[in-house]
């Protein structure tokens, strides 16, 4: 990742001056808004990040923080299925390997989908078509982007099923999704998304619908495959354990924005945003002898129609009154560098946060 400096862009995210970025994937000031009868739902409201090939970015946040909408926006699927509804509005820039996707021809983006960028969905049972065999679905995914006959494509499907660890792949290729177990289905889903060797893989809550025993296997599989294929991976999750396992970088989202971003070890061991503290405090730890009660983040996620003024987290933040002049409720904090490649958006001073973390929060975890 390139060294970036803070600039005065609208969201306060670092924005390089050159139009064609060096990063493999670069998202700049992404906004995805959904017009509804109740008002404009600002699901993603100014998000920027970069991702290199071979690296994994973990996007973490509560339900409704905009994680999934971000991934759908990158894939160009945010308007999919919105027949007759008011269309989602998307703005900003998404650069994938030198191509800006939002201004590109939709048919060109469609051809990139599945080949350059692929997606693994949360619930493999509902994400696979119940009426087609696993093989038929993988073959279809392969043949859209490769001009081969069905036989060749089926051989490729069997090969992929074998690669993701499905026993007897030459037989199971003709099974239907309902004949697979949950873990097997997710493996098949992964096989389908990797069948075209995509350079960007987005995994949207890949383990949420699975048994705990299977979760670790699937995460191992994703990590192994990433090493093998060298793709860039975005893992979207609400489970910090998942990103701890996989991610090089972590991006914490709250209310459609990034509140903290940095290398995984920094975000885990030197977090600089009260919301990240809250997430860590509510995570069960099995590696500690003595475990006090988990500390939940009080309150509920903000309404994306009426995002609280000032810092979106202020109604739930135990430290909201510490900064002077009620600034947390009036001024929106910008992302500011708090360390090397580590940014957080908080009105409290860096030293103040460091002290609170080391003296109050960390000992309780």
């Amino acid at each position: 990742m390139t060294e970036l400096s803070k600039s005065g862009a609208a969201v306060g995210e670092p924005t390089p001056a050159s139009p064609a970025p060096k990063a493999f994937l670069e998202v700049r000031d992404l906004k995805v808004h959904f017009p509804t009868d109740d008002g404009l739902v600002k699901s993603v409201d100014g998000l920027s990040f970069q991702l290199e090939k071979g690296k994994t970015l973990g996007i973490v946040g509560e339900s409704g923080s905009g994680k999934s909408v971000t991934s759908l926006g990158i894939m160009g699927l945010h308007t999919a299925g919105q027949y007759g509804k008011r269309k989602a509005q998307i703005s900003g820039e998404i650069w994938l390997d030198g191509t800006e996707l939002l201004s590109a021809d939709p048919d060109h983006v469609r051809k990139l989908r599945g080949r350059e960028m692929a997606m693994i969905f949360q619930d493999p049972l509902s994400a696979l078509h119940p009426y087609y065999t696993i093989g038929q679905q993988i073959v279809e995914a392969y043949r859209i982007h490769h001009d081969v006959d069905k036989k060749t494509a089926k051989r490729r499907a069997v090969e992929m099923l074998d690669r993701v660890g499905i026993p007897q792949p030459d037989k199971r290729v003709d099974s239907y999704p309902h004949e697979f177990s949950g873990g097997m289905r997710q493996r098949a889903m992964i096989a389908m998304s990797l069948v075209n060797n995509p350079e960007l893989l987005i995994a949207d809550e890949p383990t949420t619908a699975l048994d705990v025993t299977v979760q670790a296997q699937i995460l191992d599989l994703i990590r192994d495959l990433q090493k093998e294929f060298g793709s860039a991976v975005i893992v979207i999750t609400h489970d910090l354990g998942v990103v701890a396992e996989l991610a090089d970088d972590i991006l914490v989202m709250y209310g459609g924005r990034c509140v903290e971003r940095g290398p995984a070890e920094k975000v885990f061991y030197e977090p600089r945003h009260p919301y990240t503290w809250g997430l860590l405090g509510s995570m069960p730890r099995l590696d500690r002898d003595q475990q006090e009660r988990l500390i939940p983040v009080k309150g509920s996620p903000p309404s994306l129609i009426n995002i609280p003024s000032g810092c979106a987290f202020n109604p739930r933040c135990p430290y909201a009154d510490l900064p002077k002049d009620n600034v947390t409720r009036t001024v929106r904090p910008e992302l500011a560098e708090v360390g090397s490649r580590h940014w957080a958006a908080c009105h409290m001073g860096t030293e103040q946060r460091e002290r609170i973390w080391t003296e109050e929060i960390a000992p309780k975890l």
């Binding site: 699927l77 999919a80 027949y83 599945g114 619930d123 994400a127 859209i144 309902h178």
Partner: protein, 332 residues
């Protein structure tokens, strides 16, 4: 699969026996309880007692009910010989008895009329599937548009307008107004174009009613399916939108339509009474209507049986097709 089929056929056969017994019971017991003499209605009101007695003996009306049902069954499979009143009639299998009114055998009446009703039902079904499904899919894809609202208003009127209204309207415009058709039924044996010309108005009128229902169901199902995760997956693969809709979404939309089609076809074959009456088609529906008016029990019984078989067969075909479409349905 084979075991399933055998079981289903067996169940259908049992069902038919039960239906025959119930219908037979209803049609032959009610006159008895009501004090109406079936023999008398067969012979005519001013008949001499000897003739009535002869008919009673001939039809076995004096026998206990189970014997009468047995004779009826036996007649269907082995034929039946009526003796009594001094003469003997042999009725070859399948024997469904004789009409009280015309004294015609029932079976030829059924075989004459069944093809007309079948052609009406199948032709209309093809039309309403084409019209209803395409209108429904378009409405779903253009939800809230002028087309969607327009199509749904037409569909609503199609559902609410009775066939004797739309039928008369069609007749007055196309037959009496524009003089495009002669408004008569012509048997297929007399030439295809005459037959086709006679069937086209009944087809369109009947199809309009059903197309309306199918359009509404297709639209609702399609909208639901388009929100499914696997449709999003299909798009994420990079499929063209036409493939996403035409292949992935259509396949799922077909299942509820198929269920409806099976029931509707079965019911229609049982007699599209209103359509056949409005267009004077000599089908089963018209036959049964006349039979009811004339208390012609053997005809009613025969048509009821044919209808039951049609419904049972249609349901069986639907169940099998269902398993072909949806692999989660196991035919065991």
């Amino acid at each position: 699969m084979l075991a399933y089929l055998i079981r289903r056929f067996f169940a259908a056969a049992v069902m038919l026996v039960v239906i025959v017994m119930v219908v037979f019971g209803i049609f032959f017991l009610i006159p008895k309880w009501a004090g109406v003499d079936i023999a008398l209605s067969f012979v005519g009101k001013q008949a001499d007692p000897a003739a009535v007695e002869g008919v009673r003996e001939k039809l076995g009306l004096g026998d206990p009910i189970y014997a009468q049902v047995w004779e009826f069954f036996k007649g269907i499979f082995a034929g039946r010989t009526y003796t009594g009143g001094g003469d003997t009639i042999h009725c070859a299998a399948p024997c469904f008895g004789y009409s009280f009114r015309s004294e015609q055998a029932v079976w030829p009446v059924l075989t004459d009329r069944f093809p007309v009703t079948l052609a009406l039902a199948l032709g209309a079904a093809v039309l309403w599937l084409i019209m209803g499904v395409s209108a429904g899919v378009l409405s779903a894809l253009k939800r809230g548009s002028l087309w969607d609202r327009g199509a749904m208003v037409v569909a609503l009127s199609g559902v609410s307008l009775p066939i004797y209204f739309t039928g008369m309207l069609a007749l007055s415009i196309f037959v009496y107004g524009l003089d495009l058709f002669d408004g008569q039924f012509h048997p297929l044996e007399e030439g295809f174009s005459g037959w086709f010309g006679g069937m086209i108005l009944p087809w369109v009128t009947l199809a309009f009613l059903y197309a309306a229902m199918y359009a509404r169901i297709t639209r609702a199902t399609m909208l639901e399916i388009l929100g499914e995760d696997y449709i999003r997956t299909a798009r994420a693969k990079g499929l063209k939108e036409t493939t996403v809709i035409g292949k992935h979404a259509m396949r799922s939309t077909m299942t509820p339509l198929l269920t409806m089609l099976g029931m509707d076809l079965g019911a229609l074959i049982g007699g599209a009474i209103l359509t056949e009456t409005a267009f004077s088609l000599p089908g089963l529906g018209q036959a049964v209507l006349n039979a009811i008016k004339n208390q012609d029990l053997p005809i009613i019984l025969g048509v009821t049986l044919v209808t039951s078989v049609a419904v049972l067969v249609a349901n069986l075909v639907v169940d099998i097709l269902y398993a072909v479409i949806d692999p989660r349905v196991r035919l065991t």
